[in-house]
């Protein structure tokens, strides 16, 4: 029934990468990673029935757990590694340490009661949850959000991206044992959080983009302080760029690490900077402009090396891009206007029946909410599509084969995964 050899008919991919740039280290295609290929490698275990078989008693292999309490793991999750010497021959990602059953909880909460909990789904970058939840509900209900609210939301999302990238940047340096930049960048993130706190009343969980608009306008003098903060951040980021991206040892570690071959990008559902570093100019902000992104000027950042260094570079450029976007937003947004539109009484709000999928470009790529409403006061189903889902589980399991134990942290971080959005 399924015709597997269809590649010749497949339409050309947009933004196809420059050929010959993928590294020799990358496992080219899942299809070619066949039994023979693996069995050729004496380090690799024999494969029986499509599964690797390890004789742990042989002394050749060692089972090694990284996480959940492990400084190299991006949060509360764990990797079950089977290593041969220093080389990883099998990796299983274990998640669920943070599973709170959000999707279930939302099914027994009214729509307004879902609003405070969605932001907890991705802790370091909660705003995309807020926005997408609000946007799906608004779209199903047919609520028009005032223009100023749209600008404020865009600003919020870009600030969130910037803050999240800052934390990631520190993590990237830290994954290779360099703590200095991490100390700076987390502080920069903190400065942005200060602005968030001023604007939204919350530091980590902003709970600001409520269906219908936002919960408050700018406080007095906010834009000036935000500009100042962005200037400070930019200066520090330049320092980080100079000392990290021109760092001999960092380059040695990151270049050639965890190459994602362009062919597997779609097979593994890879999105965001991970895909852009593989040469795909895909960005939801451009492809499906939401909020006011169609009124902002920016270019999609791409790279072709597709290794940890390329991904870090893409993210670095996107941080500058975010700063630029924040400045653009501050310059162009309407000076005043309503920021909230009337909702039905939220205490007994029955959202119209229907279903919709909305997505936005978070730091890790396509973040999406699927809302299925049956016309009652509670959602029938909300599905949260976090990009970490595929990146942290199947992609990580795929990429780590053949890596050094020492590289797992760097590889993991370079994929930029947040476990809470995997398990929700």
């Amino acid at each position: 029934m399924v015709n597997t050899d269809t590649r010749s008919d497949r339409p050309a991919r947009r933004g196809t990468p420059i050929p010959g740039t993928s590294s020799a280290r990358g496992v080219p295609n899942l299809a070619t990673r066949s039994q023979e290929h693996i069995n050729d490698n004496p380090l690799m275990p024999p494969i029986v029935d499509g599964k690797a078989v390890f004789d742990l008693d042989s002394g050749k292999y060692l089972k090694l757990w990284q996480g959940p309490q492990h400084p190299g793991i991006t949060g509360n999750m764990s990797l079950e590694l089977v290593v041969c010497g220093d080389e990883i021959v099998e990796c299983k990602t274990h998640v669920g340490y943070l599973h709170r059953g959000f999707e279930k909880l939302m099914e027994r909460r009214s729509y307004i009661q879902c609003f405070p909990i969605v932001c907890r789904i991705a802790v370091p970058e909660p705003d995309f949850n807020e926005y997408l939840f609000a946007a799906t509900v608004e779209e199903i209900q047919g609520i028009e959000v005032p223009e100023r609210a749209q600008w404020i939301r865009t600003l919020n999302l870009e600030m969130a991206r910037l803050a999240s990238f800052f934390m990631w940047m520190g993590g990237m340096a830290g994954a290779f044992g360099l703590g200095t930049q991490g100390q700076w960048t987390v502080t920069m993130r903190d400065y942005i959080l200060d602005r968030f706190e001023e604007l939204t009343g919350g530091r980590i969980y902003h709970m600001y983009m409520i269906p219908g608009g936002v919960r408050g306008d700018f406080p007095e003098g906010f834009t000036d302080r935000l500009r100042e903060t962005i200037d400070t951040c930019e200066k520090t980021l330049q320092d980080v760029e100079r000392t990290l991206f021109n760092n001999a040892v960092f380059k040695k570690r990151a270049k050639g690490l965890g190459v994602i071959h362009p062919d597997i990008v779609d097979q593994f559902g890879i999105v965001g900077p991970n895909a852009r570093a593989a040469g795909f100019a895909r960005d939801v902000r451009k492809d499906h402009p939401y909020l006011v992104y169609d009124q902002l000027d920016f270019e999609v950042v791409t790279h072709t090396d597709s290794d940890a260094y390329a991904r870090a570079w893409v993210r670095l450029q996107e941080m500058y891009q975010s700063m630029d976007l924040i400045r653009q937003i501050l310059d162009r947004m309407p000076a005043e206007g309503p920021f909230f539109t009337k909702l039905p009484n939220v205490l007994h709000w029955n959202v119209k029946p229907g279903h919709i999928y909305k997505k936005a470009e978070c730091t890790r790529g396509e973040y999406g909410y699927y809302l299925n409403s049956d016309g009652s006061d509670k959602p029938r189903r909300i599905y949260v599509r976090g990009p970490s889902y595929t990146h942290a589980v199947s992609l990580m399991e795929h990429l780590s084969i053949g890596c050094n134990i020492a590289d797992t942290a760097g590889l993991m971080v370079s994929l930029h995964t947040y476990p809470p959005e995997v398990e929700r």
Partner: protein, 195 residues
């Protein structure tokens, strides 16, 4: 704006073309156009994998954004939703497949050979909904839960609050007073209107 992004959005006609193709080949039905860039269709369980393959290989829907299920308990079925995306046309297409909730019928063909990442989704669906995907790797390993032996928690009949109260006791000592009852008790304790 860069010129690579000045491509036109998919037109409704193109969506209809894809739909017509799927309809004649596989009897796909129920086209719902939500937005210019998003539509949903429904297909039968037996045709689903063929439809997905066809979409991926002939129509450029190469990206599986997610796979999930919606519990339509009243109708005794799950709706599996395969959300596909076409980067060429910038179009989302949700393929909905209905399967029975109970018994042997609560299973679906695996698509991990088409999208290796789908294995994870299928593991989660088995754990959270109890949907079987024969042949999917590591299907019966724990995913988010560990040592779970109650109903699959995302099924509608599973009551999370009841489970929580039964399992993880809340801190005692809280009292609450019903406003209406309290006002009745203090303002009109013995009047005869509440029969």
């Amino acid at each position: 704006m860069s010129d690579q992004h000045t491509q036109t959005q998919i037109s409704s006609a193109e969506v209809h073309e894809v739909f017509a193709d799927l309809h004649t080949r596989y009897g796909v039905r129920g086209l719902e156009e939500k937005r210019a860039d998003q539509a949903f269709v429904r297909t039968d369980r037996d045709e689903a994998v063929a439809v997905l393959t066809h979409l991926r290989d002939r129509h450029g829907y190469t990206h599986l954004a997610f796979l999930t299920a919606v519990d339509q308990i009243e109708e005794g079925r799950f709706e599996l939703l395969y959300m596909l995306h076409n980067y060429e046309l910038r179009h989302d297409l949700g393929v909905i497949v209905e399967i029975p909730r109970e018994g042997d019928g609560c299973s679906m063909d695996t698509i991990h050979r088409m999208w290796p990442a789908a294995a994870t989704y299928q593991r989660e669906l088995r754990e959270m909904f109890g949907i079987d995907f024969p042949g999917s790797p590591r299907l019966h390993e724990d995913f988010a839960l560990e040592g779970w032996h109650d109903l699959p928690p995302m099924r509608k009949e599973f009551d999370t609050r009841e489970y929580s109260e039964r399992t993880y006791y809340a801190r005692p000592g809280r009292t609450k007073t019903d406003t209406r009852q309290h006002m009745k008790d203090t303002i009109y304790p013995s009047e005869a209107e509440t029969w």
